[in-house]
Amino acid sequence: MDLVVAVLFQLTYVIANLALISLGLAIIFGMMRVINLAHGEFLMLGGYTVVVATNLGVNIWVSMLILAPLVVGIIGVIVERVLIRWLYGRMVDTLLATWGLSLLLVGIVTSIFGASTATTVSPPLGAVRIGDYSASGYELFLIVITAILLFAVWLTLRFTKLGLLARGTMQNAEMASSLGVSTSRIYMITFGLGAAVSGLAGGLLAPMTGVLPTIGATYIAKAFITVISGGAAILAGTTAGSVLLGGINGIFSFIAGSTFGEIALLLAAIVLLRLMPRGITGRFFRKSL
């Protein structure tokens, strides 16, 4: 019984982790049809914000939950104004430009902090006991905060004025702008919020993984697969994609080791896209957020 709970906990953590690293990408992709190849670098910047702020003596919770999303959100708004907004409607060029941005950010961070690991911070929570097994308290915290984050995004989209305008812009930008909505501003805010969520995720993961200028590359493969398999709906897509792929990854990792877990994840995603080229939410839960 304890073993079952421990395994289920681990599985939930894998799913939550996938949802956490994908959510920022999904917001930007779902709202603006922009695939942000610099997503991994936004996560990386969130991580660096936490490490630098903690080393300067800021409380770790403040730096993770407030500073990381704030800093990366501001960077996101700057990036949108300077680079992305010239390229709306040209998906391929946006991809390439954000890839250039990704290299640029890696280059800048390497120049400032050096190529090796900066001083790390340790996870602030101890272990939790499940019967005979112990689990990381910080992993439990990440599961809870991912759930809160998803719920907060749902609340924002469903019940606030900003969410209403954003959904309107997403459905029909021309109609929204002729009704007096400044779509350019909505895009800017959306990109900033997506970047902020990425920054938060990167900051939260920094104590688990440490930070490196090139750490973005380890996240983006999984984040892309999750978002593309999930499809364009932000919340339903991210959740469905993470549950399916995270579940497969977790189960195969448990049976045959983490290497096979990743192979299974990739194969499942490719087969899924052959069956549903527009992702899970392209076929099911179409009307969902």
Binding site: D93, L95, A97, W99, S102, G107, I108, A221, E262, A269
Partner: protein, 344 residues
């Protein structure tokens, strides 16, 4: 056909001249370095084919390049000779590309997704092979070696496993491979198959309504491109003497895209030239510590996407074309059609 291929053949002859002159005037160290650059140029050529002519936005061309190198190395170690290893490297890579392409093209995945999927496959290769350190990960006699990679046996004469080639001779082989691939691709894009691929790039729906099975054509050109990339991979691990998982990393994937963008989509000689230019630029940058390679390449990529989206070669050709047209009294040549269609 011959007339359209004239520029290709001119460049090929220049390449042959270079192949015979270079070892006489350059030092051995430069020649070994050049071999690596040539291998990368073959990779650029393969992406120039499938992206520039096939319109397939493949972000993971290095996956085929690296896979070819790994298959060559592992089978050369097991067979004790390189002849079958080279053939196997090309075949297995092409088969892998065909299988991946089946899911992509027959699922009708759109081009942006295609880029992301191929990139993801590349990154998964990277993280998988990095983990294969330890004696339990081996194929036949070849240890995969994880992060440190495997050292590649040199090429030998066909079916003569005792006569290995020296680095200088590997240069000849690599240069010959580049020229042959270049002429082959230059020929391919002028065949009916190549022209259908170009028409699919221009307008998928129209090509399909004319009765062409675009999925099959795309799969075909994708597979051929992967085979060429594998040849580049074989030459690369011969030039360097070792293959590591680093070929699959994000930096190299980006580099391949940058060569083609800088050189120009829809040309063949442009990306090849850009490869050599950027290879020497990054080598020069490696010698100093002020500017980071990533930073410079990122800036180059952003500038080209925003300001020179066509790339260097087409921009230069257009510029000369515009000048020629302005000169009065000159009879315009009757050759019609889009300039980017013919091989250059």
């Amino acid at each position: 056909m011959l007339r359209q291929m004239r520029p290709t053949l001119v460049y090929a002859v220049l390449g042959i001249l270079f192949m015979f002159v270079a070892p006489q005037v350059l030092q051995l160290f430069t020649i070994i370095n050049l071999t690596t650059a040539i291998a990368l140029a073959i990779l650029a050529l393969s992406l120039a084919l499938i992206w520039g002519y096939g319109g397939i936005l493949c972000f993971g061309q290095v996956a085929f390049f690296g896979l070819g190198a790994y298959v060559y190395t592992i089978s050369a170690i097991n067979f004790g000779g390189s002849t079958w290893a080279i053939l196997l490297a090309i075949l297995i890579t092409a088969a892998f590309a065909a299988a991946l392409g089946y899911f992509i093209f027959f699922g009708r995945v759109s081009d942006v997704y295609l880029g992301v999927i191929t990139l993801t496959v590349t990154l998964i290769f990277f993280s998988l092979i990095r983990r294969t350190s330890g004696p339990e990960y081996k194929i036949g006699n070849a240890l995969l070696g994880g992060f440190n990679g495997v050292s590649s046996p040199p090429i030998n004469l066909p079916w003569d496993t005792r006569t290995f080639l020296f680095p200088e001779q590997v240069f000849y082989v690599a240069m010959a491979a580049l020229i042959l691939c270049y002429v082959f691709v230059g020929w391919l894009v002028n065949t009916k198959f190549g022209r259908v691929c170009v028409s699919i790039r221009e307008n998928e729906l129209r090509a399909e309504l004319l009765g062409y099975d675009i999925r099959l054509y795309k799969l075909g050109i994708f597979t051929i491109g992967a085979g060429i990339a594998a040849i580049g991979g074989v030459m690369f691990c011969n030039g360097v003497g070792r293959i590591t998982p680093d070929v699959f990393n994000l930096y190299n994937a980006a580099l391949t895209i940058i060569w083609v963008i800088v050189g120009g989509r829809g040309t063949l000689i442009g990306p090849i030239g850009a490869t050599f230019a950027l290879f020497y630029l990054t080598s020069a940058l490696g010698g100093q510590t002020v500017l980071n390679n990533n930073l410079v390449l990122g800036v180059i990529l952003i500038i080209f996407v925003l300001l020179v989206p066509k790339g260097v070669a087409p921009t230069v050709v257009d510029w000369f074309g515009a000048r020629r047209r302005k000169k009065p009294g000159r009879v315009r040549r009757r050759r019609r059609g889009n300039r980017t269609e013919g091989a250059q």
